[in-house]
Amino acid sequence: MAFYRGQQGSVKFEDTGGATALITSTRSWSMTVEKESLDTTALGATYRANVGGLISGSGTVEVLYTASSSDETNSFIEMVNTATDEGAAAFELLLTTGKSITFDGVITSAEYSATVGEIEVITVSFVTNGAITLGI
């Protein structure tokens, strides 16, 4: 049985429609895929009934700041500040090589911080737009 450690993961991103490229200096990522539940309980029933509804995802990526200026990492940490965003940016979150979650999405926030004595970290949050492919 194979197990994996966090450092085997990675994040790829592309905001202009090409192939996704590696976001360098990524420290961590996390994503939650949620499905709404719709109550279909009949009047007079003893037990509640539910069916699945709409599926969506959201998550965060932590990136260490490296002052890169012309790669996808730079686009990634600045994209929250774009005027128009149609949710077409491509995300690929990898658990290990060849095992990934892919989707288009919108970056909803970026938290930039500097704390004395610590490495500078930028936390980018996103939500999905449309289908999510779980290739894991």
Partner: protein, 141 residues
């Protein structure tokens, strides 16, 4: 992009101290694993560089990833016994100023501790203080 060269880091740290203490008044400085017989009642400095914790910084395998390499510098300052701490603290200030919050060739130095008086000097017969600080450098694989 390569694994960190520990001797390059060591030379950054030791070279900075050796250069400073070569300025008049010259003070002898001895490093790890070097023979040295001090002259009684003389001034001299011992610099000990050790590497400690290493941590993951980023995701990734043996390429395209980064680690943090942390170490500690212990600098012992020996001056004549029975004449007060002034001469010792003068050297201590020079050493403290040399590293305090500096970033040299990718080596980040934290604020130093000391000069702290040691009650039992080693070797005996001196007034000994100690300046200690941690440092961090980053390894890009």
């Amino acid at each position: 992009m390569a694994a960190v060269n520990l001797n390059t880091v060591r030379s950054v740290i030791e070279g900075r101290l050796a250069t400073e203490l070569a300025i008049a008044p010259v003070i002898p400085v001895v490093f790890h694993n070097q023979p040295f017989t001090p002259t009684p009642r003389s001034l001299w400095v011992q610099c000990l560089v050790s590497f400690g914790g290493n941590n993951y910084l980023t995701l990734g395998g043996t390429t395209g990833s980064s680690n943090s390499v942390i170490g500690v510098i212990v600098i012992n300052i020996f001056t004549a016994k029975g004449v007060g701490p002034g001469a010792n603290y003068t050297i201590g200030k020079r050493i403290r100023d040399l590293y305090n919050r500096q970033i040299i060739s990718g080596v980040h130095f934290d604020p130093p501790t000391g000069p702290e008086v040691l009650g039992s000097p080693s070797p005996e017969g001196y007034f000994q203080t100690q300046v200690r600080m941690t440092f961090e450098t980053f390894e890009d694989l």
